[in-house]
């Protein structure tokens, strides 16, 4: 944020008659009041990390000095030690691999079906009329409430977890995709038609690339929801996985391990967001 004091325009700060003394009869000269600027946040390096460092450093200091009791908040260094131990013992991989597999398989299914359905809704009157109300009806359902149903349909093992994550990532992807497709400039479509491109070729060559920015920003939301549902599904029935690990730690009130699990989840979220940022920068270079 910019300093409001500094940005405040000097209103009517007149150049005094003395300073314009060499032209005695000329009218008072006022600098034009500056009223532009702002509304353009620029990246500031290191501030994000600084916030983390301050928060964690504060917690560390508080727990060491005794302001914060061990029951309120675990000491960050202990949480870190727990993480290191988790890694050394090989348990980290044992929990991460099934979790990541579930997240990747589930969200790949949800996103690919979501993008396809979103494009169809964006382009076809029939799909739009038929599916938009359905999507609106599905969107607000807390997907986790459907887990028992999915267990019956797809089995207690991986199937129900894939389905839950797929379903959870599907709805926001559909909404983001058809919104993005709606906004694709139709003059590009007419141009493609005027060069004899067929339907599928227009979808692939014009609609999808033009909708990609919108789809990618929808993906950020979809994947965050995917992570939440992953943990929820694992809490309700899994031997291995970050969710199971957190649940176990929570039921034992083992706050260090609980926080270690939470840190892993946050790291996963940051990684996903960073990865999408990288993809955006690579594939959206054409935007000004």
């Amino acid at each position: 944020m910019s300093d409001p004091e500094k940005n405040d325009p000097p209103i009517n700060r007149q150049i005094t008659p003395q300073s314009a003394a060499n032209t005695p009869s000329s009218p008072a000269m006022t600098p034009v009041r500056f009223r532009g600027g702002g509304f353009a946040p620029a990246p500031v390096r290191g501030v994000g990390i600084l916030v983390f460092v301050l928060l964690i450093g504060g917690a560390e200091w508080g727990t060491r000095a005794g302001f914060i009791t061990a029951l309120t908040l675990p000491r960050p260094s202990d949480v870190f030690a727990t993480l290191v131990e988790l890694y050394r013992s090989g348990l980290l991989a044992e929990h991460m691999i099934p979790s990541l597999t579930r997240l990747i398989v589930g969200s790949l299914m949800g996103i690919s079906i979501g993008v396809s359905v979103g494009v169809l809704i964006g382009l076809s009157s029939w799909f739009r009329a038929g599916l938009v109300p359905l999507v609106a009806a599905l969107f607000p359902i807390p997907k986790i409430a459907l887990l028992p149903l999915f267990v019956i349909w797809f089995g207690i093992d991986e199937g129900s977890k894939y389905a839950l994550i797929a379903f959870g990532t599907f709805t926001p992807t559909v909404v983001a995709t058809y919104g993005a497709v709606d906004n694709v400039d139709r003059t590009w479509v007419r141009m493609a038609q005027s060069f004899d491109h067929r339907w599928w070729s227009i979808v692939r060559g014009v609609i999808l690339p033009a909708a990609l920015p919108g789809i990618l920003s929808g993906l950020r939301i979809s994947l965050a929801i995917g992570i939440i549902l992953l943990v929820a599904a694992e809490m309700l029935g899994a031997e291995y996985g970050i969710g199971a690990y957190i649940l176990e730690a929570g039921s034992l009130y083992d706050l260090e391990r609980l926080f270690a699990g939470v840190v892993i989840l946050s790291a996963l979220g940051v990684t996903v967001s960073f990865a999408i940022g990288l993809i955006e920068r690579r594939v959206l270079r054409w935007r000004s």
Partner: protein
């Protein structure tokens, strides 16, 4: 290949936009369409290229397109319609893609049209990196690449500043002199029309009817600024247009 517009009528809902347009577009000539704003010029052009269908009448091709012609009716759009995620070369390749030419032939065509539009050095630039005038040259290169029988140009120079417009008009004249093409050229700008048109069709205000067809016999390459014949033609066109434009303007106020 000539084109014939045969009694074209069109209404959007209850608004009649075009009424009884019959016109021949002979091969090798540039036909300019001028008329007040909203009289249906763009709509007519969409009918000519088959992007939309009139409620009455038909657009007919007379004869067959010349051999080697890939996309007989090819548009050049006012806002360029370049795909921003494709390079200059990629945009031209996009127009050629439906024809599935052998790789080498496609490359040869692209190299040729880039050279003809003086864009060879910018083949790999993205649209955001080049100026408006260059963007329209890319759009023209793209249109030339598919070897059109008729070019359909909807105010191709309107989005450009007047200096760039002059330069591009020269380019179009050079292109036409080297290899005469057929074109339907919609414009608001009468000096553009007298500079490029062999035949200038004046449309009345909505519903658009053909008010008059003005032929200009001076060869394109000999048309200069200040040529009295051209100035007379322009003055005559302006006389025809002024009443229509004023009436159209007044109508808009009453809506």
């Amino acid at each position: 290949m000539d084109l014939r517009l045969d009694g074209i009528h069109h209404s959007y809902g209850s608004t009649e936009v075009l009424s009884g347009i019959s016109l021949d577009i002979p091969a090798g000539q540039i036909v300019c369409l001028v008329g007040p704003s909203g009289c249906g010029k763009s709509t007519l052009l969409r009918f000519v290229g088959g992007l939309e269908q009139p409620t009455g009448g038909a657009v007919l091709q007379v004869g067959t397109p010349p051999a080697g012609c890939l996309n007989p009716l090819t548009y050049v759009f006012q806002d360029f319609a370049l795909l921003p995620w494709r390079s200059v070369r990629g945009n031209i390749a996009f127009a050629l893609a439906p024809h599935r030419l052998p790789r080498a032939e496609e490359e040869a065509i692209i190299t040729d049209v880039l050279a003809r539009t003086k864009l060879s050095d910018f083949a790999d630039a993205l649209p955001k990196q080049i100026s408006g005038g260059m963007k329209q040259r890319v759009a023209i290169a793209r249109a030339l690449a598919v070897r059109p029988a008729v070019m359909l140009m909807d105010e191709p120079l309107s989005a450009l500043d007047s200096q760039t417009r002059e330069l591009l008009m020269d380019d179009l004249v050079t292109l036409w002199t080297r290899a005469p093409f057929t074109a339907v050229y919609v414009t608001h700008n009468l000096s553009e029309a007298v500079r490029l048109g062999h035949k200038i069709v004046v449309l009345s205000r909505r519903p658009g009817k053909i008010r008059e067809v003005v032929d200009i016999d001076t060869p394109l390459s000999e048309r200069r600024h200040g040529d009295p014949a051209l100035e007379a033609a322009e003055a005559r066109l302006w006389g025809l247009m002024r009443d229509e434009a004023a009436a159209a303007d007044a109508e808009l106020l009453h809506v």
